[in-house]
Structure formats: C-alpha cells, structure tokens
C-alpha cells in the first residue's frame, strides 16, 4: 500500500470518527473532574460516595436536589450549582456505565 493512500484512508476514517470520539469523551472528561473526590471512574476508596455503576436517574435527581437545596449537604449543594442539567446528565450517564 502506498504511503499516500494510507494517509488518505486514515484521514477519511478520521472524518468519520472524530465527532463520535469527542462526544463520548465529553461525559468521561466531565466525570473525571468529579473523580478527584469520588475516585477514578467513580470508584471511591471510602468516605465519599462511590459513583461507579450508580443508576443514572438516581444520580441526576440527587445532584438536582443538591442544587435546589432539597437535599442538604456540606459541599455538594455549592458544587451542584455549577452544572447545567445537560452536564449532570452527561456525568450521570458516564458513571452509570462504569462497572
């Protein structure tokens, strides 16, 4: 296979794949920011809520309740106010998929 054709083929593959990768990574990256307290991929080592495998709807509701003040917290009520519904959804989707 000629070098140029490999490059062109890869470039075309790239055109197809780039958007998907970024979309899939959005939830991963957003969730990673939470991982500093809640553990890598939500696998807490203790003392913080483990979010790996957390049912999505339950997590969305919990964060929304922190945000509204319905659920009292020491810090999560302040952090939750920094996220939109769509962002919370993306984070919860990612964590729900973690084993």
């Amino acid at each position: 296979m000629k070098r140029t054709s490999v490059v062109v083929a890869l470039a075309l593959l790239g055109l197809a794949g780039g958007a998907f990768a970024n979309e899939a990574n959005y939830g991963r990256n957003m969730a990673a920011a939470c991982g500093s307290c809640h553990g890598t991929n939500g696998k807490s080592v203790g003392g913080m809520e483990a979010l790996a495998g957390y049912p999505k709807d339950k997590l969305v509701k919990a964060v929304q309740d922190f945000r509204s003040g319905a659920k009292p917290a020491t810090v999560m009520h302040q952090l939750a106010k920094g996220y939109t519904d769509a962002q919370i959804e993306a984070i919860a989707t990612y964590y729900a998929a973690q084993k």
Partner: protein, 428 residues
C-alpha cells in the same frame, strides 16, 4: 512502513480542511488510543495525575515517563496535620508503585534542562530522554529576594518554610516540639498569589491546637503581607477567637523588609519588628526552576502562560504546563485539587492530539479545599470553573461555590476522605 506523526497530522488536517469539516481522526466509542511518548516532569498532584490519565485514556497506547526527584509522593495538603502533631509523615506519603502498575515509567532523577527544539529533556545523571509531548508540573520555587537576609541554606536549617511537604514538614514539627512553653511561633505569609491560600491560616490553627494542649503560655503570630486574610476569612477568624483566644494574633499588612536569623527577628516595611523562637517564613513564589530554564515563564517573571483548552504553553509548543506554576485564571486557586483538574484537561488534550483527534473545549472543573481548624474540625471552600471560549479562559460559574456555614467535625472526616481519594485518583 511507518507514518510520521507530524506528516499524518499535516495531511489529515489538509484533508479535513478540503472537505470543509473541522474534525480530525479518532476512533469511535471514546477509547482514544493514540501513540507516542509523553514525558512528565514532576510527580506531585499534577504530574502523577496526568501520567496515570494519559495511560488510562490512551488505553496504554501512549508511553509515559515520569521524572521526579523524590522517592515518594508526599502531600502538601494534610501536611499541617503533621506540623501540628496530629498525623505522621508516613500517613501523607504515597509510593509511585501504583503509577508503575499503570505502565508509567517512573524515574527518580532531576531534570536539568529542556530542549524544546529537539524535544528532549536532560537529566542530572547525563541521560537524555526524547518526547513527543512534555508536561511540566514543577510546582513552585521561592523568590529568595523577597526576604532579604534569607538564603536557601538558612531556609533548609533554621528559618523553615515547610511549604513543600517532606523533610521540612518534619523539621518544623521538631522546632515546635523543642520550643519552650511561653515561646513565640511566627508564620510570615507572602503576598498573594501563593500556593494554597488558606494553608498558612490552617497551620496557625494546628500549631495553636498543639501549643494550647502542651505549652499554653506560648503565642502564635500570623504576619501577613496581605491586607487581610486571603481565604476563608470569617471561618478562620471565628476559630482564632473561639478556640485560640489570647494565643493567636493576626497582623495584616506585614510585608517583610529584612530577616536577621541570628537574633531571629523579622523587620517590616510598615510595622514593628518581631522576634520569635520559631520563625516560619514562607517566601514569595514563582513557577518552579525547570519552568524558568525551559523558557516557559511568561508573566511577571513568575508564572507560565498556557492555552486553557490544552494546558499547552503559550511560549513553547509541545510543552504543557499544569498546576501552581501556571498563570492562574481569575479566582482560580493554586491548590493540589485544582492541579489534578489541570492534569485531566491536559491528559484529555494530549490523548486527542496524539490520536489525531480534534481537541474539544475543556470540561468544567472544580476545586474543593478543606482546612482543619483543630484536630477534628474542618472548613472548606469550593468553586466550579467553566471554560469561556470567547475569552479563552476559565471563569467561576455564577451562584456556585462557597464556604462552610461553620466549622464542624463532619467536614473533618470528609477532609481526610478527600485526601485518601485524591491520592488514589492520582497515584493508584
């Protein structure tokens, strides 16, 4: 045959431009892959986290070499507990073996020079290591000139800073143990910005917590170059009044003009001189020495300017700078937690770049910072920061963040849980 990475990027970028689509290569499904060599300088919160996350997010495709001068990671956050006698240094120390299990090549050594043109770093032992992308996570070094009379030698023996955790932490603890009842401990705080804004005030609390129990005639003086308490003001002032009344004294606007180590005296621009038995002087900070050598410092001879989308240096392409060394975005603290967030932005960008993917705008990031006010109770400050694509910087989200309502023991437990989790996230 082999495809040179840069050729590939060039050609695929041209292809994308021709097709009128802004997206580049990448594999679907989020497993990013990528290949090449990343070198990380510094194994603190930032360096450890970026090393692990690049390995993880590239599915092991990218080789990562971490170069760190110390044998183990020792945490600055929680180190005031060691100064105050509540914890031992071993409890805030973590091995780099966990990173090795992620396939990170950990080298104990000192980087003496970065060659940005040749894309290589040189070690003190003479070795040269090549990189495709370099992450510089050097933390801070001190501006000795900010305290006339203080030298690096003095700062290692008598006038400690203990602002980098390790031997200094233990040595300061020893000075406090050796101090007589009725002695004076004074901490001098540099002008902001400095690493860990609430750190000095927490230290004053934990030193007082120890002295109150063991040497109650002693005094704690906080000599602050700033006009007022920089962080968690109400919470610290309440602790000083409620818990350490008559022991802790706070003095703002104390910018040091000189130090006399023989008489253990600090002189100030606009205030009376202070003599103390234990002088804990924290000099002003700038980005760590290697950032200076590598030509990464762009602001006030102190901090490294970066592109917040990728954490890539504005001065040297191919080099990412994270952590305390960066020119902070508005209201962004220089903290260990924040540094892990920088590390994850950098990791995501590096894996995208080395996979030929388009770099997405960075995710929202957060900071949660706990301070102990005694052996059991803690207070926090938290913030959420989101990328502003127009202004190309991070900004705090309006209405988010805040501090504790009051000091409490629940957050004392959360503070330690935070530490265990963030260490695991960075190093295990």
């Amino acid at each position: 045959m082999t495809i040179n990475r840069r050729d590939f990027l060039k050609v695929s970028a041209a292809g994308a431009a021709a097709a009128g689509i802004g997206s580049l290569a990448g594999c679907a499904g989020g497993g990013s892959g990528g290949s090449g060599n990343v070198v990380v300088i510094g194994g603190g919160y930032g360096g450890a986290t970026v090393a692990k996350y690049v390995r993880m997010w590239s599915d092991g495709g990218i080789n990562v070499t971490l170069i760190e001068r110390n044998t183990n990671f020792v945490s600055c956050p929680m180190s005031n507990l060691v100064v105050g006698g509540e914890r031992k240094l071993e409890e805030i120390t973590v091995s780099y073996d966990g990173l090795r299990k992620h396939g990170v090549r950990v080298i104990q050594g000192e980087v003496t020079a970065v060659d940005a043109d040749k894309r290589s770093v040189k070690l003190a032992n003479g070795d040269t290591i090549a990189y495709d992308r370099l992450v510089v996570s050097p933390g801070i070094d001190f501006m000795w000139e900010s305290v006339p009379g203080l030298t690096p030698e003095l700062a290692n023996t008598k006038i400690l800073h203990a602002w980098k955790a390790g031997p200094q932490t233990v040595a300061l603890r020893k000075q406090l143990e050796d101090m007589k009842d009725g002695g004076v401990y004074a901490i001098a705080i540099p002008k902001a910005p400095y690493r860990c804004p609430p750190g000095p005030y927490e230290r004053a609390c934990l030193v007082a917590n120890y002295l109150k129990a063991k040497k109650p005639k002693s005094k704690v003086l906080i000599l602050d170059a700033n006009d007022d308490v920089v962080s968690k003001k109400g919470l610290f002032m309440a602790a000083w009044k409620d818990l350490y009344s008559g022991m802790i004294e706070y003095r703002p606007k104390h910018e040091i003009s000189s130090l006399d180590a023989n008489s253990m005296t600090l002189k100030f621009e606009f205030a009376d001189a202070v003599k103390a038995d234990v002088l804990n002087v924290v000099p002003g900070h700038r980005a760590g020495d290697i950032a200076k050598q590598a030509g990464l410092i762009t602001a006030n001879n102190r901090w490294c300017g970066i592109d917040w989308r990728t954490m890539e240096s504005t001065a040297r392409p191919g080099i990412h700078v994270i952590g305390d060394a960066t020119l902070s975005a508005p209201l962004m603290p220089k903290s260990g937690h924040m540094t892990t967030q920088h590390a994850k932005i950098a990791a995501a960008a590096i894996v995208s770049l080395m996979s030929g993917e388009q770099v997405a705008d960075p995710m929202s990031i957060a900071n949660t910072c706990y301070s102990y006010v005694d052996g059991k109770q803690a207070v926090h400050v938290a913030s959420v920061h989101t990328y502003d694509a127009k202004e190309k910087t991070f900004k705090t989200v309006a209405g988010s963040g805040g501090v504790s309502a009051a000091r409490n023991e629940i957050e004392g437990k959360y503070a330690w849980a935070w530490a265990k989790n963030v260490w695991a996230d960075a190093l295990l």
